[in-house]
Amino acid sequence: MRTDFVRIYKSVHTWTGILTGMALFIAFYAGALTVFKEPLARWVAPPAEMRPVTLADAPQLIARTLAEHPDSARDFTLHLHDAEHLPARLGWQLRPADGDDHDESGVRHFAATLDEGGAVQVNEYRPSELPGFIDTLHRVVGLPFDTDPNRWVMGVVAALYALALISGVVVLLPSLVKDFFALRVGRNLKRMWLDAHNVVGIVSLPFHVVMALTAAVFAFHDGIYALQDQLLHDGKWGSAFQRPKPSAAAAQRDPAAMLTPQALVDKAMVFAPGFVPSMLQYQQVTGPRAVVRVWGKDEAAVSPRARGGFLAIDPYSGKVMSSDFLPGRQSTGNLVISSFFALHMAAFGGSAVQWMYFVLGLAGAWLFYSGNLLWVETRRRKQTREMPEAPVQRRDTRLMAAATVGVCLGCICGISLAMVGGKWLYALAGPAVDATRLLYYAAFFACIGWAFLVGAARSVVPLLWLACGLTLAIPLTSLSGALLPASGLWAHASWASLGVDLTALAGAVALAIMARVTARRIAAGRPDSVWSVPASTTAPVATANQS
């Protein structure tokens, strides 16, 4: 490859990388956690207070709920398994008519159960905003709400990220064979970071290509569809998903005549062995278009959505209406489309793949952090032997180092604080207060502000310790709940919930190690760096001839 190309693409890589690195750090850190959105929801959910109902009693529960709350008939869900974040077996949501599809803030949640006498008992409840908010952070690179303009910001970031990937590969290709297996650990720290940046980037390249392209699609698909509707489909795109009109204009149907949930589950499992149903979503059951979606997962197949896929059954006749979204039973075309979603959302292969995506997501976050460090290091003013004192570093590198430290560690601190604070606030003030966003942004902006105030070198170690402490508080909060139930705190014993605690513990240990190593680096490193603390103005000149 001509060196001209390498030089040109190096400029592309530098600019696209430095413009998007910090936004992508947030997207990948929050995205890695979003892989475990359900365990997070279970961890943060308060203990259930509603009476459990067996699956055998579910037909009664459905019939009576529909009779007393007709607005649930449009779309309600029957859960087949118990989990901490599901307050009762039956639940439904009411969305504001003018709300955005992705905006969860105006949604009202209801849960229904039967009391001892068999009467319906309905509670409106507010699930914690935490899991949805972490998801939103990753969807719109740290912005607070998942709206159209914010998604376009994400789309531009994703497009620049795609350019950074292409240009990064072009820059590395000529020396790939030489550099790939080389991790030159040694005195030349920049070489070592560059080697590590390259090896992580190349090894996880397929993952990053998938993420860049799917993120661009998720951001811009509405616009592309609208344009293609005019150019390709003669304005008929909207009709592609319309179901055929029901043959007979059937009158109101009696939901008591529906098959039982158990019978519907059995039908689905006979239709697709290996499919493990998790919930039944009933839609318009009192009208002519009644349908039940049997949602579930099949670890041996590709799931079209993050929560799995579904088989659509007529709840009155038991006839299978559509297997277009059933894992393992999709047509080739639908499977190809589903695989794009599954590859982004780790919706295949079960929990092993989820852990792999978690690690790849964190490695991605590190990739962007290291990219920013390399940008700073490349612009370093070195001390030469003739200089009695270390030169003042460039203003832009000092600011970029402070921003990198503040944004990245601010995001980690903010998420940990939102998790811990949400649980404590619930224990102290009840469900009325949900300060998830407030806590996150307070920590996030405080970290950034402080990093700019005192500089990268002075703020990075305390901020790492702060992140370590806040993350350690996650399992400690659960421990407090287990030991002192009178405090109002709680701890769940399911593996999903304990997994959150244990992962946070491991994260806290990792952050503590980083804090110690960074402190050593700052104490022992050369003074001609944004990472040195110039308090020791009597820096020995002897260190200058070290490299």
Partner: protein, 95 residues
């Protein structure tokens, strides 16, 4: 040997614009061609695949455009490819 070749012109603005604008034309033309050639697929599947085709082609053009020796060449090659695709589409539609 390398120094005998003419230098690669930077032409940041004209190359980037070529990649952005003609990349879009290429991407939508490619999706239209796919749409015409796979008419036997159900419309819902065909339309979704056609949508998924747009960003890879567009971003591929935007990422590869800096390999052209100059901005002018980028416009000529990408413009030529776009014209070819659009002509093919027109021919398919008329036939």
């Amino acid at each position: 040997m390398a120094d005998k070749l003419p230098p690669i012109r930077r032409d940041w603005v004209s190359k980037s614009l070529a990649g952005f604008l003609l990349g879009a034309v290429l991407a939508f033309a490619a999706s239209a061609l796919f749409n015409v050639l796979s008419a036997d697929l159900p419309m819902s599947v065909r339309g979704q695949l056609a949508m998924w085709l747009v960003p890879p082609v567009w971003l591929g053009a935007l990422g590869g455009v800096y390999f052209f020796a100059s901005g002018l060449r980028a416009w000529l090659w990408l413009g030529g490819a776009s014209a070819l695709l659009l002509g093919l589409l027109l021919a398919l539609r008329l036939s």
